[in-house]
Amino acid sequence: MRGPQDYGGMPAGPVDPDTHEHVPTHWEKTVDAMMMLLFDQRRRLARVDESRRMQEALGDDYHKYPYYERWLQAISWLMLEKGVYSQEELEAKKAEVRARMEAEGHGS
């Protein structure tokens, strides 16, 4: 079984330049911006290959995640791995954000 980093040369479907275009959304650009900040020379908190390692760790879920949701998961796991925040802090923050978003009627 080849990982997603090793698709080169495998059979695959046609490329449709017209339907395979996508204008990045504001949300996606926010994730992109966060990754760029973590990559930058001042912070050096992430590297491209580290981000890829985390995305590949999704295993079979790699293709179930939209591209920027994979990036987001990679950022979150990398920050946990590097001790920027703990799993407990992340869970507490997610509970806080979930309560806030549900109160604001997001995602409904």
Partner: protein, 222 residues
């Protein structure tokens, strides 16, 4: 990102105001993804890793990086032999004239000629010369393109409507975390005497990835 970045550049199509609110309602990801994004961002801000201003400025920078910048670079290379030599041999120094900093990655410029057509892929994932072309197109990130580009590039090129004569060699360049590629397309015939601004209108994103050629004068002249 640059600490000296300012807000003076033009947003041709602004998607958010400077207080970060989207102008147009974009489709949102799942609630779980929204929650995770807000949680990670707020934790990074609370930990002092980034600030809200940093995020806003970085989004501005993401939006300021478009293929128009790459097109200006290609047009100058077509028009200015000395610049082209510099771009091909020491791209960092040449790109400085455009305020582009590729570090920590390296940009390798590959030139299309009568004998060689170059095309870029990232089989690993989606490495791309973002500082000069912006966010890669969706097809570039898809498994189909990544898998087949290194095995049957001419078939993919035909799917883009690009027919490369059999006598011309097709070279595929596989990008990685440290090394990115930009294709210098061939300058179209019939552009003698054109200035760089006019030339740049012929340079498309796809021509700098190498899945198509630059436009012909007839494609852009009114």
């Amino acid at each position: 990102m640059s600490e000296t970045h300012d807000h003076s550049h033009d947003h041709a199509h602004p998607t958010h105001t400077h207080d970060g609110k989207p102008i147009q309602e974009d489709p949102l990801p799942s609630l779980e993804a929204q929650i995770l994004e807000a949680s990670v961002r707020e934790l990074l801000i609370e930990k002092g890793v980034i600030s809200s201003d940093d995020v806003r400025r970085a989004i501005d920078q993401v939006e300021s990086r478009t293929p128009a910048l790459g097109a200006k670079i290609v047009a100058r290379a077509w028009d200015d032999a000395e610049f082209k030599d510099k771009l091909m041999s020491d791209s960092d120094e040449a790109l400085m004239a455009f305020g582009v900093d590729m570090r920590p990655t390296e940009l390798c410029v590959v030139e299309n000629t009568d004998d060689v057509h170059n095309m870029v892929v990232c089989t690993l994932c989606s490495c791309y010369p973002r500082p000069v072309l912006g966010i890669p197109p969706a097809w570039y990130k898809r498994r189909d393109y990544r898998s087949r580009a290194v095995r049957e590039p001419r078939a993919i090129l035909r799917e883009f409507g690009t027919d490369i004569p059999e006598k011309k060699q097709v070279r595929v360049h596989d990008s990685n975390a440290d090394l990115r590629y930009l294709v210098l397309p061939q300058r179209p015939d019939g552009t003698e005497g054109w200035d760089q601004e006019r030339l740049a209108r012929l340079v498309t994103r796809d021509s700098m990835i190498g899945v198509s050629d630059a436009l012909a004068p007839a494609d852009v002249e009114d």
